[in-house]
Symmetry: C2
Subunit: 583 residues, 2 copies
């Protein structure tokens, strides 16, 4: 009705697109081996009719005033729209959808046309003591979109989907002014027409928005070159009660604690972001993603670090561990003819060279720039890869990765409909701690699988290099056959992994944000004094608690966290956050 | 007595070091021409006996408790130490010193040995409702160290000079844990012994500390490679009332609004920084600073931008305008023999090529890395320089710049003692706005010189390239012969320049911070809504207003700003902060 398209109410992406195991003969045996699941049975997506959606809580006066602002077409309060705007796409959200477990559903959805309408909506809602939750692509996986369960006030979801334009490009400065509701493809399409790219490609790219990226401190796959969203965003505008926060585009400034950085990661709690000035780059002459194999994860990690400290410049440096490498092969189409021959020859050669193919790790490294520059960088990388025992596989494998890079969530939904739960936990830590963190996390997950008495699978990739460290991205899965215990089993594993991050010098999340999911670990992540500073800012800036309350920091009421859905809260704040790892 | 050395109470650097015009025959004529000043008369530095230092305000109980913490040697309340810890090294500070114009002088100086002592001092002072002002190298030039004039409570200066150690180096991650009181040379000496560098070289390097750099959002000369201090600092510890804020070293994180970024630029208002984890880099194989000449500033700026958007990697890209180029030559030693011949031949060649030597601009570009990498980058730069009409002068001129890069403040003091005022204003703006900002700032300054009815001189250099823009750094001077009007004349010029930044899409300061000097422009710089967010944070985190009150944001009392020393406050907040420059 609004003209704004949304993802499936029950899963990732739009209706009609999903993971298809046909022509991928290795997938079913892989899943069977990994988590004991038989995927031959057809999946059963949930039915909307089965949901019991509570009636909206809104008085006529506020509804009428909101209608006056946006018009009838752009105020929606039917059940489907309200449910779509209540949950994100985290596995907890999707498990709950499948159990009909809705709690506080947003009461009304409005689609403002421009910043002036956002201002009117914000002022009306705060004056009426309603709650405002901004909505971009709805891809959040940390519970940042859902109202708090005990919320009694009217909850208004502000969908920015109509505000999706690139407003201007400053060609001379490499800056573009873009509306917050623009989704990844809308941004790149509009920029691309004029020869520019923002270079920000998170996994959620197709279904996430500029405003969402800023609000959650997002990072894209090519951050080695383009930086985190915190680097990319140079100015922004956000609507607060009775005023617009207006930060002009500046390359750098020393005017006090950075207000730009306060809004980045604020998850709707400081106002509604309406537009931003972002760094944009000329589409490069050459862009190549090259595939590499390493004999094991350790040698691969060593190579990644050496590449990062060398004179080489890359756009992405990524390596999967052996489990994720196996999963990659398992989701590929069966290879035929010459391709099959080449791969078999290659594997034969590696075996003869003494490689244990069960331990082999697949790596992708990306290059951009002038042709000569790309060649120079590839030469440096090749030398380092070879030194660490790896081999260059080439751009064929690289382009397969490049074309499939946004598709992983579809596999998650496919499994969910067939009786398995899969989720992700990602973090960063200094280089010196990477292997330790990897080992302890795998161990913590396996221990948690044992505790839960279930078969389970965990895999990992390394990505996002920084001067002092990098990101480890874990994906885990376990069977979900017994509805009585499966949520708790999942929760046990998820908690064990996140707690291991806290206990071993890593952060609660590198690029997924906090929401209500990660909030219980904040005092350990940034120390109790750190949460006090965040609280001073968030509460001081929003005394009525109208802007997406309960996210990032809870109000301290036990049980309010989405996180503690049906399991006990983690054991409070330990003294460990005071420690710093030693060299 | 404390063993911690300080700068001159009346000027830059330590006693015995200053600018010496001998052997620089072009300097006196240059100053005469620029601002009509005859420098042949000897300078008259002020005498400490002439100062009337008010008695300290502290009750015996607090003094005794502080003594118990640090011991007799490390609590100082003699007049000299109190004055040294009250003022920074801004030209306003030094003009006031020369007039005996002290206002609120700090009451006592303590030198804690470690973080535990800082915690005790902080707790004692907040419990006694005293004011705490942290002190590093004392080089601040924006009035961040001085108590507010109306402060009635006891003011304690916490000098971190004893906390100057590199505590550990994480060799594998390129991270070092360093105490906040360490000055630039102390840091580089300790790191250099183990083959590392932090690469952070602000103009104040010799007399500024890590804690000061963090508290003011500092940037070093080689930021093109090493980044701003906000990029370099990955974790930190800061003492607050009853607690330590402890942020572990993380390459990147998405845990809500960045607390790390809240402390960076907080100027003592969120607590006392005791140590930080910073990025450190291996001392490069090759480091070269190359000099270039351009026919004029415009062609030079175009070249700087093209270098930055090319595949070349530099550590510093800098170009002086014609006035600053003339000043550079005027402060050089007389050249003899072969050097003189080479330069004369070069100038002759340029004249024949049609250059107007009065418009010629001197540029320095720095390179680091492996020998081959440096050569590749120099080749790309040479091609771009040539395309824009410039020529390579070589590493001889470059190394002169490199050896003199920290010396400019001595010339300022030399002039001040001989009847001239000189000060700086620096900012950033997007590339598309650089030339407009340069032109309008020069015009605003010249107009202000006319308004004040005085001769004046302004020069500028470009430095610190970012993706979307860069820094312009202006230095201006005017004669200071008439004590009755000279301060007001200076103030007229300084205000005109800063206001021009605000009116033309630039920030109040790129790397000098806010203090009390720039505070009046904050609402224009970050919009009134931005100052509300800063206020929510600063006031919420320090309800008793004990931590360096009045800095960054004033309490709104007219006349409290150091800025409005003896001139009216600027005309309030204009609506212009709401505008963003269009492409």
């Amino acid at each position: 009705m609004s003209g704004v398209k949304h993802q499936k109410w029950w899963g990732w992406g739009v209706e009609g697109i999903g993971f298809n195991p046909e022509g991928k003969p290795n997938f079913a045996p892989f899943v069977k081996k990994a988590i004991g699941l038989d995927i031959s049975k057809p999946g059963t997506p949930p039915k909307f009719e089965d949901l019991d959606v509570p009636a909206p809580v809104i008085d006529d006066a506020l509804r009428t005033r909101l209608l006056d602002v946006v018009g009838e077409r752009y105020l929606l309060d039917d059940d489907l729209d309200r449910v779509v705007h209540t949950l994100g796409k985290g596995v907890r959200d999707l498990m709950r959808i499948r159990r009909g477990d809705l709690r506080r559903v947003v009461d009304v959805v409005v689609y403002p046309a421009d910043e002036a309408q956002v201002q009117k909506i914000v002022d009306l809602c705060v004056d009426a003591d309603a709650v405002l939750i901004p909505f971009g692509g709805g891809s959040n996986i940390v519970g940042a979109l859902e109202p708090m369960p005990a919320e009694r006030r009217t909850v208004v979801s502000v969908d920015l989907g109509r505000m999706s334009k690139v407003l201007e490009i400053d060609d001379e400065s490499g800056l573009a002014r873009i509306q917050a509701g623009a989704l990844g493809p809308q941004i790149e399409e509009q920029l691309g027409r004029r020869g520019w790219t923002m270079g920000h490609f998170p996994d959620s790219f197709n279904h996430s928005s500029l405003g969402g990226w800023i609000a959650t401190r997002s990072t894209g796959m090519q951050s080695d070159k383009y930086g985190d969203i915190a680097d990319i965003v140079r100015g922004l505008r956000a609507v607060r009660h009775g005023e617009v926060l207006a930060l002009r585009p500046l390359p750098s400034t020393s005017s006090g604690p950075s207000v730009r950085e306060m809004v980045i990661g604020s998850e709707g709690r400081l106002g509604i972001i309406t537009e931003a000035w972002v760094n944009v780059h000329r589409v490069p002459e050459v862009r190549e993603i090259v595939g590499y194999f390493f004999p094991d994860f350790t040698s691969g990690l060593d190579a990644m670090q050496e590449i990062h400290t060398s004179d080489a410049h890359t756009i992405v440096t990524r390596i999967s561990d052996a489990n994720e490498t196996e999963m990659s092969f398992a989701t590929q189409r069966a290879q035929k003819g010459r391709k099959k021959l080449v791969m078999n020859t290659l594997f034969g050669y590696l075996k003869r060279r003494g490689w244990d193919l069960e331990k082999m790790c697949l790596s992708y490294i990306g290059f951009e720039g002038g042709r000569r520059y790309v060649k120079q960088n590839q030469a440096i990388v090749k030398e380092i890869v070879t030194k660490h025992g790896g081999i260059v596989v080439g751009t064929g494998v690289g382009s397969v990765y490049d074309s499939k890079k946004f598709d992983t969530p579809y596999i998650r939904d496919f499994l969910l409909d067939r009786g398995a739960t899969a989720d992700v936990s990602e973090t960063t830590t200094p280089w010196s701690n990477l292997k330790h963190l990897y080992d302890t996390t795998i161990e913590a997950a396996n221990h948690a699988f044992d505790t839960a008495g279930t078969k389970g699978f965990i895999m990992c990739h390394f990505a996002h290099s920084y001067h002092s460290g990098a990101c480890l991205y874990f994906t885990f899965a376990l069977p979900d056959n017994d509805k009585a215990t499966s949520y708790q089993n999942y929760d046990t594993v998820k908690r064990a992994i996140q707690q291991n991050f806290m206990d071993n010098g890593a952060t609660v999340s590198h690029h997924h944000g906090v929401g209500s999911e990660h909030a219980p670990w904040m005092a350990e992540d940034i120390s109790p004094a750190g949460t006090k500073l965040q609280r001073a800012l968030l509460e001081g800036a929003d005394p009525g608690n109208n802007f997406n309350p309960g996210k990032i920091l809870h109000d301290g009421e036990p049980g309010i966290a989405m996180h503690s859905y049906d399991a006990p809260a983690p054991g409070g704040v330990s003294g460990r956050a005071e420690q710093v790892p030693s060299a």
